[in-house]
Amino acid sequence: MRTVDASVISETVAGLCIEAATVLEEDIEEALHKARDHEESPVGKEILTQLLQNAEIAKRNKIPMCQDTGIVVALVEIGQEVVITGGNLYEAIAQGVRKGYQKGYLRKSVVNNPIERKNTNDNTPPVVHYKIVPGDALRITILPKGAGSENMSALKMLKPADGIDGVIKFVLDTVKAAGPNACPPLTVGVGIGGTMEKAALMAKEALTRPLGQRHPLPFIAELEQVLEEKLNALGIGPMGLGGRITVLAVHIEVFATHIASLPVAVNLNCHACRHKTAVL
């Protein structure tokens, strides 16, 4: 058994919120560099240049890359041998969000409920997904999710008869409908199988995979590649103003499903694909 104090969790989450908003992950930066080299559209090239400059300025001046610093999604993996002391886990995470958004001068973009829509003024509550895993580590990934890309995400319960062609069509339709709104070049997270909520969660988790790392199952890895080629053939391009690079990567997660089901969820992320992980 191992103990982790709630105050350590809060501090960690606060730091992750600030870092996710201000520092572009190295794999994403590398992908944007490659995208700029490959982009044939002069406007697209200029946009990718501005995005790389933006990342540099944000890091140097410790200001957010984007004004939409998002609602916080936390993916938490708790080793079953871990005991949290000095407070409850959810409140510790929320306290970290509160602290990080205040200290980091991040925008408070959360309203109390979808009908009254009153700003909570501290960017809480966060959306937290827990997973109990073997071991004694506590792993926290923070994804600040902006509305531009989240609003264009979609889920559909396909029929098994729709098959792989149906899955491809749904992913293409979703990215087409998103056009410029989700701030391409995108990272596309796809969850296939399970049930409705399982597919959605897998699509979200897929966004945190190191960029371009392929799924271990060869036929899924192949589908990722096929989708990347088809999506980049759409011509949407950086910021939707036309170009060769519409997506940086497609990551697919799969799960067993019912004999009569084929759930597909597509979670889009903008060019910055913000996420940061800490292991306690």
Binding site: N54, Q67, G148, P180, A233, G237
Partner: protein, 185 residues
């Protein structure tokens, strides 16, 4: 195409010369407004009451910045999705608004209003909030302070980079750009 500099307010001659794809560096004053401020202004127009800003020959930037860190006038300040303002924009354009800055497509109604009343839509790079904030030199609160980041501010900008996405001739860079690079397969 070369980059040109434009100083606000916009005059008709400048607008007549702008074509889609033109890269522009904006200088001078811009107003900011997004969903909530637009809703308030449209309510005033419908009640035939005066607006808190005179929109004639002005540009509205669709943005809700992050809080200003110490020593800076504003935090990250990139464009938000313009489409959410589409139901409001034609009435402001009819009142003399000459420019809008945002990201993403405009509706046919907005594009029609731009042609009829001679206004342009500039795209700024979505997500480039840190870069764009460096071009903002001064920030003045103009109206609706209760809206926080959604209040109306006046930005004084220097070499603020945008690109003409819709011009007064019906040109649409989203449509044309995507058509150029789409591969049929």
């Amino acid at each position: 195409m070369d980059v040109i500099s434009i100083t606000t307010p916009l005059n008709e001659e400048t607008i007549l010369n702008l074509r889609v794809g033109q890269r522009v560096l904006l200088n001078g004053k811009l107003f900011t407004a997004r969903d909530a401020a637009h809703k308030k202004m449209i309510d005033l127009i419908r009640q035939k009451k005066p607006l808190p800003i005179d929109v004639r020959n002005q540009i509205i930037y669709y943005v809700g910045p992050t809080p200003a860190p110490p020593g800076r006038p504003v935090g990250a300040a990139g464009p938000t999705t313009a489409g959410r303002m589409d139901s409001y924009a034609p009435e402001l354009i009819a009142l003399g608004l000459k420019g809008m800055i945002g990201k993403g497509y405009r509706s046919p109604e907005v594009i029609e209003a731009m042609q009829k009343y001679k206004a342009v839509y500039f795209a700024a790079v979505g997500g480039a909030g840190a870069l764009l904030s460096q071009c903002i030199q001064e920030v003045e609160l103009i109206a609706y302070p209760e809206l926080g980041p959604e209040a109306i501010y006046q930005f004084t900008v220097k070499n603020f980079p945008v690109i003409v996405a819709n011009d007064i001739y019906g040109g649409d860079l989203y449509r044309d750009g995507q058509k150029t690079y789409a591969i049929n397969c």
